[in-house]
Chain length 573, copies 2
């Protein structure tokens, strides 16, 4: 490809709406163009990166026995009604009507389509297990698209679905997929990706993992133990806190005028937040009725765990008015008479005596002892784990909280979909059974952007050679001089002949423009031909990172570039 | 791939809803599964065929300088409002609202997205011409999905868009695309595809061609001259008829009781339909007002040409009532006093005296002479060409009417989109100009189905090797016998090692089932290993067409298969 012919523009200024590096660099480098909220067109360099990632995905899915299929983007709502998700999933599922007035959806995931394809086709245990996958466009009506290709509404995804005769077989295959995912992330250049236990959310099932690239700009929060191998998404991380017992006291009402927050009360009474019990109020989405969560004053509620416990959607109560036993600002568990649902976090246990709301304006209790005063309550895990908190696995106070980008996920789905959609097979005895399923996703565009996040400098992306849009980049400085043009074109042709993917900057622009454009294209190997290098009878070969800069005799330059490309490719496996 | 592991079922019975061969065979062979009206999932064999077609498309697009990009499937309506097509295109454009209530569309074609990508990026004549293309999912809300992958609502399409500084440059590039399309159809195994002049329809522009595979089941009607190279879609084919003059007569009203159709009148008056002038009535979609077309009694109206002349949508008038000068059943051009729009077809010219409606119940005129009686009318070309009619190019009465499937189309769009969407570049003098565009489409699934239509027998598809899901198919008959299993597995591994794409039927099924499944998979080269062939120390190699059947010594069989595959591939270029 001659750069003079490549569609797309590169420029220096970071657009105002670009908060993260990959977004800025992919706009500035002529990779992507914004079409609408969370919707992009891809220029050729991005399309080439995606194609290389897709090839790696195919190879690794085929290697674990995957069969590539293609499900439709648009589906009749009836399929999603069978699984119950047409009603259950929120507005991120795009629903529309076709010209005949029929309800349709745009696929945001394809469990229903996978069961539909397999149902009626797979009749015997002898056809199991199998895994089918596709690489296809998906649409999720995200409320907050952001960060370029990191969080979009329309995206290309590799999604796989496996079917098994038993949970054990699924669990074994799940490990194979886990290993395939590790190979994929290593091959695209981010072997540092880790897997963490995660919330299965709307997918169903109990075991699931997310693959995370740790980075400050990540939207996910992770809890990672620094002394063992425990790793979890914050969403599902158990909160382990050491109780700080204080001597038991009788429950007594104290006057705390104007102290509405737990911080104010603690300060007023000269106590630590750890010695208090605070109330956080939510409302159920279904009927707007309140849910009061009591937990230790120094902790926060983990809404995902609360939602999973309640088995329904909730939202923070924006404004509370007095009534139904609730005195806003002074809610406490002791002597509370309310119609609201009440949840007790287990951080309250073992504390001895706590300060809590008095259920009366300007009053709090001292000496609240949860085990003594509310013995019948279920004390559940509803608090957020935190930096320095206890590790649920090894028990050390060694939890570290980090941000990460989710670059892949795997789920053990169980039989949720096969039962709901009536997919059965005959076992060896002829009895009809429901297969158990796993599902496995990787977003192609987000993966490309994540690699860019992990590999860039202030000048542009530093693409690993396995997914770089091209492998080598010829800069012909002063290509208006016949000697330069002749040498560069010769090199270009020879590299093409050797099967090296090469882009050739044949434009009559300054070396400065040429190099900054090359940095934005981020191609691993660069060859510079200029009047100066030709004086030495050489071409200069460098890497994008400048870890290598060398002169090669002109006639040997193509061979040297090819060798360098091969070495780099081998290193990434 | 071992056939025992391949997802999908093959069966003998043709499903009742399958009217055409490719539909039936792709259902029966485990290629596709119906998900909803005009929406299919693809099993692995179909996905592999599509991938091979896509590779050929990429190679041929790249060869003519195409740059692969990716446009979104979902687009803000605003883009389509800029071009005017959000309002102009009918319900086949799927419109929906996102969660924020914003109007969106699903891409059925991507001229708007192409201009959006190029606009602001291409600033100078030096960046022109260029061609960008994508291979992406499209959705058209077809009123009549039919024939399996022949006419669907969701499909994968290769669509390209070129931008030029002049109509001449576009015309030159258009020829290159035409040649690339001919190579594509030849490479996928249907070199017999022809191009015909076509109607540009909602795309705009004046010159366009469709690539047609001639077949009885085709939905398009084509006019092809048997003595010159004239080829046209019926939609736009000029109707050339020889006038059959009769001596002039004075206009006279005759009583024709009960004769409402032109056939009844002609019979009653002992005249030929050629000596009559009939009226056909349409209504404008916009305001339901009538449009009367007068043409020679033996011809039919070509609604596409009429629509293009009127520049608006029309539909046949279902029922006419008397009024506004119209006497249903007796409408004639002479002495007609009506508020309706009236169109005269040029077939009326040169006829001398014609019979036509009397605009009075039970009366017709004789002696109507269009040139004499309605001299001021525009006589336009609004009639359908017909078998044996005059060729618009060579003039011979040599037109043949055939059916065809449209497997590709190319359009010279002019500046319709660049003007509407404000895309400009600076020419060499710095003046701002609008590029002219071409666009070029091929539906991948329809192309696969069309190849299947062209290449099948009663047992299944006969895939050309260039797009066959696999190249070779091993049938191991009695694979429960260790010798057979060992020989077949050895062959399988050796073929894989030689890089041959091979499917290995390792199932414990009868030779009958094995062969009928192999026929349905339609793989070009078949290798049979059985106790019988092993007695001869051989494997039997045949082609899907049985044009070749030979014994190969077992140890040379893999080499022989590889050679055969290579020969077949070479023949298709």
């Amino acid at each position: 490809m001659k750069l003079s012919q490549l569609m797309g523009e590169r420029f220096k200024e970071t657009p105002a709406d670009c908060q993260i590096a990959s977004h800025a660099l992919m706009i500035r480098g002529g990779y992507i163009k914004h079409v609408g909220n969370g919707i992009y067109s891809l220029f050729t360099p991005a399309k080439r990166i995606m194609a290389k990632i897709e090839k790696i995905l195919r190879e690794e899915m085929d290697r674990i026995g995957g069969q590539e299929v293609l499900f439709p983007v648009s589906m009749p709502a009836a399929l999603w009604q069978e699984s119950g998700r047409f009603e259950a999933v929120g507005p991120e599922l795009l629903r529309f009507k076709d010209r005949g007035g029929n309800d349709m959806v745009l696929g945001m995931t394809h469990e229903e389509a996978a069961v539909h394809l397999a149902r009626g086709t797979v009749k015997s245990y002898q056809s199991l297990p199998f895994m089918i996958y596709q690489i296809q466009t998906k649409f999720r009506d995200e409320p907050r698209a952001r960060g370029g290709l990191i969080r979009v509404r329309e995206f290309t995804m590799k999604d796989g679905y496996s079917f098994h005769t038993s949970q054990e077989d699924l669990a074994d295959y799940y490990k194979e997929v886990h290993a395939a995912y590790e190979r994929i992330f290593a091959r695209v250049g981010i072997p540092e990706v880790i897997s963490v236990a995660s919330d299965s959310g709307m997918m169903g099932g109990k075991v699931s993992h997310e693959f995370m690239l740790l980075t400050e700009i990540g939207e996910d929060t992770l809890c990672i133990c620094e002394s063992c191998d425990f790793r979890s998404n914050m969403d599902v991380c158990e909160c382990v806190v050491r109780p700080e017992p204080s001597p038991a006291e009788p429950l007594s009402l104290v006057h705390t005028p104007g102290c509405k927050t737990i911080e104010e009360v603690a300060a007023f009474l000269g106590a630590d937040a750890k010695s208090t019990c605070k109330a956080v109020v939510y409302r159920k989405n279904s009927d707007d009725s309140p849910v009061i969560v009591f937990l230790r004053g120094d902790l926060e509620v983990n809404e995902t765990k609360l939602r999973n416990y309640l088995k329904e959607e909730i939202h923070p109560a924006a404004e509370l008015s007095e009534g139904g036993g609730i005195v806003p600002g002074f809610i406490g568990p002791a002597e509370l008479k309310t119609t609201a649902a009440v949840v007790f976090d287990r951080s309250l246990l073992g504390c001895g005596a706590l300060i809590c709301g008095g259920n009366k304006a300007d009053y709090h209790y001292r000496g609240f002892c949860p085990e003594r005063d509310i013995p019948a309550a279920d004390y559940i895990d509803a608090a957020k784990a935190r930096e320095g908190g206890g590790c649920p696995k090894c028990g050390g106070e060694t939890l570290k909280v980090s941000n990460g980008i989710e670059v892949g996920n795997i789920f053990q789905l169980g039989d949720k979909y096969t039962v709901a959609m009536g997919m059965q097979y005959a076992d060896a005895e002829g009895a009809l059974r429901y297969p158990v399923m796993g599902c496995y996703g990787i977003g192609v565009g987000r993966l490309a952007a994540s690699v860019c996040e992990a590999h860039n400098d202030k000048y542009g992306p530093v693409w690993p050679i396995s997914i770089a849009p091209w492998q080598a980049h010829i800069c012909a400085i002063r290509s208006d001089e016949p000697a330069v043009r002749q040498a560069a074109e010769g090199l270009y042709k020879e590299l093409l002949g050797r099967g090296v993917e090469v882009v050739y900057d044949d434009r009559p622009v300054s070396a400065g423009v040429m190099f900054s454009d090359a940095d934005l294209l981020g191609i691993p190997v660069r060859v510079i031909v200029s009047p100066k290098t030709l004086e030495r009878g050489a071409a200069e070969i460098t890497t994008r990172t400048k870890s290598l800069v060398l002169d090669s005799p002109l006639e040997k330059a193509a061979g040297a570039v090819e060798g360098l490309v091969k070495d780099m490719l081998e290193k990434l496996g």
